[in-house]
């Protein structure tokens, strides 16, 4: 050790420490950041060593050592010791020949180190140098000052806010070959049990792509002198076993072909097909996807303690890209960067969540130069190429979903048919026994009686099994339907908020009209209209709220509905009196029927609104008034035609009649909700409704409603 001198930090200790706590919330993040710094310093190997950290003593220490480019005294004073420096990273690349894209956060390394322990000895040697610069910072000395500063009342003018933090500095001589930085941390903050270290190892492994290898190696080693099997372990991102389904796609640079997934409905296979890509496209990518069902998730969790299935991540040239590089302590705080989970709102059941999926997308600087991380490190630059990549990823997941969905159906059918086979086999067995009985001796007969009763017992059980299975299936359909309507509720909620806002804005416009133009004779007529208008808008608000309430009240009642019986009842019982009163002749001709599970009120809403509209449209018609509802099966669709011979829908507004708040009967209290409700209710059943050419001439209206049998009847 040569002559020791002092290097000084000068700053407010308490804010420095607070800042650090803010930036580095936990020790795994801290380790993560330090290792990222090593990568940025062109290290090929970095080792994280734990010594006696289970029970903390003065022997406890953590050493992080790399063979990177190291620092000279200038770097040490101007980069390492400067807090939150902006100058730390001017370039986004590490020096050649590595040219690594910088992943560490600016000026955060220091704080990361302090998170792990209070005393730090940093030793660093630049490549080609024989001088090892050593710097010791001991925060324990300043803890008292810090606590004082924290208690400080700010009008205390005597207090010194800034403190000289003395850092012991010395130089050592080393061989020319060694270079890199080592950080020895003492006075460890928290004990590390085996699980903590394993967890850290898992997190560190995420830095590295399991697909692509580096141009220049980057190996992370973890070791501990206390825990077995943690002896210079090479950290690898290999916790990808036990997947239920695993796919890998690649590309061919020479032929400019990108592989992609394609679910073949004929063969039920997930095929890999090829497509061309352009020069200004996102560029070719490699991708591995691992899907885990509940069972395999359990196995996964058991085998890789601490590892979690956490969605799809993008790696560049073997290292994780910055938006994914942040370690999130709480799962809920993890961001859905690629929008995989957002997608699930629009269809709950067949969609994979990022918690069922591990995925690795490999891009490279050379092939995908236009996929760029944004400077805030939270996302990618939103350009055509990135959007293309995101769509590509989602598309692959969609194909995977199709495969999984098909697989599930297959398995279900298989279980069902196995149960049936077992049942048949048993019946055959019974028959054989009966045959033997006829020719058997009394002793055998007695035995056989016992066997027969056993067989019967089993038969009953299998029967029960089959019926339970069918019940379960039905129950699942119910739940699925419930969820379907709840999920679409999200869309409605946003639309309803939109219309409520519009109404409020209209009302406030009218109010402002009075403020600005009252009193003025020439606007007398306008005042009346605005007063009216406010009334109308209030009406709309009220029916929008009724609509929301209908959802609030309707969560429970999912029942089996017989389509034909229900529609017939509506006409022949519920609305009969109104038809007669209004002198309307009605016809109901439902040819086929089917039974489905749905909320009865929701289903009736459709017809209530259609009939309500017809009544309005028929009001001014002279001569015979008709309402007709007919229906029949057509393939796997049930088609319903609903017609009247009222005034009809003028051509120019035909394309907006289903819009929320669109109304032509405002003066009669129409709020523009009726056909909107019809549309949303039918959409919730995965059906469709459209206005077609009127059946009745010369005027009238005909709606065609299609309900898919498949979805609402037997698909789970």
């Amino acid at each position: 050790m040569s002559n020791i001198k002092n290097l000084k930090f000068n700053f407010d200790i308490s804010s420095y420490r607070l800042l650090g706590r803010e930036l580095i919330t936990d020790r795994i993040t801290a380790l993560f950041e330090i290792v990222k710094n090593s990568y940025d310093a062109n290290s090929e190997n970095v080792s994280v060593k734990f010594f006696d950290v289970n029970t903390l003593s003065n022997k406890s220490r953590i050493v992080i050592e790399d063979d990177g480019s190291g620092m000279d005294l200038f770097d040490l004073e101007n980069k390492w010791m400067v807090i939150g420096t902006m100058s730390k990273r001017e370039t986004r690349r590490s020096p050649a020949p590595y040219n690594r894209r910088v992943v560490g956060k600016k000026g955060v390394g220091r704080f990361a180190v302090d998170k792990l322990g209070a005393k730090v000895i940093l030793k660093t040697t630049m490549k080609g140098s024989t001088i090892r610069h050593c710097l010791e910072t001991d925060w324990t000395k300043y803890e008292q000052i810090e606590s004082k500063q924290l208690q400080l009342s700010f009008d205390d003018s005597k207090f010194q806010y800034f403190t000289d933090i003395e850092n012991k500095y010395w130089e050592e001589t080393v061989e020319k070959k060694t270079h890199g930085t080592s950080i020895e941390i003492y006075n460890i903050t928290d004990p590390w049990v085996e699980k903590d270290i394993r967890k850290a190892t898992t997190e560190l492994s995420k830095l590295i792509s399991p697909i692509e290898t580096f141009d220049y190696p980057f190996n992370i080693y973890v070791s501990s002198n206390e825990y077995k099997e943690l002896n210079d372990v090479l950290v690898q991102n290999n916790s990808i076993g036990f997947a239920t389904l695993e796919v890998e796609i690649d590309f061919d640079l020479r032929r400019k072909k990108q592989q992609r997934l394609f679910f073949n409905e004929q063969t039920n296979n997930l095929d890999i097909i090829e497509s061309d890509y352009d020069d200004d496209s996102m560029g070719p990518v490699k991708m591995r996807l691992f899907y885990f069902d509940q069972n395999d998730k359990r196995k996964f969790n058991k085998s890789y303690s601490g590892a979690i299935i956490d969605g799809v991540k993008i790696y560049r040239d073997g290292l994780i890209t910055t938006p994914f590089a942040e370690y999130a302590l709480e799962r809920d705080k993890e961001r859905d960067i690629l929008g995989i989970d957002k997608r699930r709102y629009s269809g709950f059941f067949d969609k994979i969540s990022s918690r069922d999926l591990l995925g690795f997308i490999e891009i490279t600087d050379k092939n995908n130069p236009l996929i760029l991380e944004s400077t805030n490190r939270q996302d990618f630059v939103d350009n055509k190429q990135y959007r293309e990549l995101r769509t590509f990823i989602i598309d692959q997941i969609k194909e995977l979903e199709k495969k999984i969905s098909a697989q599930k159906t297959e398995e279900r059918e298989e279980t069902k048919s196995k149960l049936k086979i077992a049942h048949n086999d048993l019946q055959k067995t019974s028959a054989i026994i009966r045959a033997i009985r006829k020719i058997a001796t009394p002793e055998v007969k007695e035995k056989l009686t016992q066997v027969t009763s056993n067989v019967r017992e089993i038969e009953v059980q299998i029967k029960r099994g089959i019926s339970d299975y069918n019940e379960l299936e039905k129950e699942q359909i119910k739940q699925r339907n419930l969820f379907l309507s709840l999920m679409s509720l999200q869309d409605y909620a946003s639309e309803i908020s939109h219309v409520v806002r519009t109404s409020i804005s209209n009302i406030s416009d009218s109010a402002k009209f009075f403020t600005v133009y009252y009193p003025d004779e020439k606007y007398n007529n306008h005042y009346l209209k605005h007063a009216d208008h406010i009334g109308v808008e209030m009406n709309k608000l009220s029916s929008a709220i009724d609509f929301m309430l209908s959802y609030a009240k309707s969560n429970v009642g999912f029942t089996e509905i017989d389509l034909r019986a229900t529609i017939s009842d509506l006409f022949n019982k519920t609305y009969r009196d109104r038809f007669i009163k209004n002198d309307i002749h009605y016809t109901v001709e439902m040819k086929d029927s089917f039974v489905f599970t749905h909320n009865l009120k929701f289903f009736e809403d459709i017809f209530e609104n259609l009939i309500g509209n017809s009544l309005k449209a028929l009001k001014s018609i002279k001569g015979k008034k008709h309402i007709k509802c007919s229906g029949n099966l057509n393939g796997d669709m049930y088609e319903i035609y609903f017609s009247d011979n009222g005034v009809g829908v003028p051509k120019r507004i035909q394309n907006k009649i289903f819009n929320i708040y669109f109304t032509t009967t405002e003066s009669e209290g129409g709020a523009g909700m009726g056909l909107y409700i019809v549309k949303t209710r039918i959409n919730a059943m995965k059906g469709s409704v459209e206005l077609i050419e009127n059946e009745f001439k010369p005027t009238g209206t005909t709606f065609k409603i299609c309900l898919p049998l498949k979805v609402i009847k037997d698909e789970i």
């Binding site: 946003s494 939109h498 806002r501 409020i504 804005s505 209209n506 209209k529 120019r652 907006k656 819009n659």
Partner: protein, 203 residues
């Protein structure tokens, strides 16, 4: 004095007696409200010889939307100023998502309806658009014709095919953004600069 610039409001959720229309009518002589996008578009295209500011909604239901209308207007002219007035952003249809659709279409302004004070913003925007229109070449020619009616039929420009154009003709060519009109505007500007530079004229 009220302005003679036409204001065409193409919007299906604004009423004739509304605050917006009343505000506009206080300042502009010709305010026309059209609730159908197709009809509105035809009106604008058939009145290209007028000075026009269009206030345009985006969401008209399932048919033509505001962007289509703007695009179609731009196929005919860039001299019509278009202010987009659309309701509060729906999720997924926010201005940011739409902005790329507006590239190259030269919308004059984008105002979110229902925001506090949007009515004042709209009037300010319309007034600014009016000033912009006042400053363009076609308007300058019109002003000239109004003050010097005897000049309106004098030929002042000959195309490369030798066709003669009066002031009135050329004003129409400019408003309709024909090749001749664009060519004339370009040459007129260079001529003015040239005259000023050589000290032949003073402004």
């Amino acid at each position: 004095m009220k302005s003679d610039v036409d204001v065409v409001v193409i919007h299906d959720d604004i009423k004739e007696h509304s605050l917006i229309i009343t505000n506009l009518k206080e300042l502009y002589n010709n305010v026309k409200l059209i609730d159908d996008p197709e009809e509105g578009l035809n009106f604008v295209i058939n009145h290209l010889t007028r000075k026009t500011i269009v206030i345009l909604d985006i969401d008209f239901g399932n048919g033509l939307n505001g962007y289509d209308v703007l695009e179609k207007i731009r196929e005919h002219s860039f001299l019509v100023e278009v202010i987009i007035l659309s309701a509060q952003d729906l999720p997924g249809t926010s201005l940011l998502d739409k902005i790329h659709q507006l590239f190259g279409l030269e919308a004059f302004d984008y105002i979110v309806r229902g925001k506090v004070g949007y009515d004042d913003l709209l009037i300010e925007s319309v007034n600014r658009a009016k000033n912009k229109i006042k400053n363009n070449i076609a308007s300058a020619i019109d002003e000239w014709v109004i003050e010097n009616n005897e000049d309106k039929d004098k030929p002042i420009y000959f195309s490369s095919e030798g066709e003669a154009f009066s002031l009135n003709d050329i004003s129409n060519e400019v408003r309709n953004q024909t090749e001749i009109g664009k060519d004339f505007a370009e040459k007129l500007n260079s001529l003015t600069i040239d005259l000023l530079l050589r000290g032949k004229e003073k402004l």
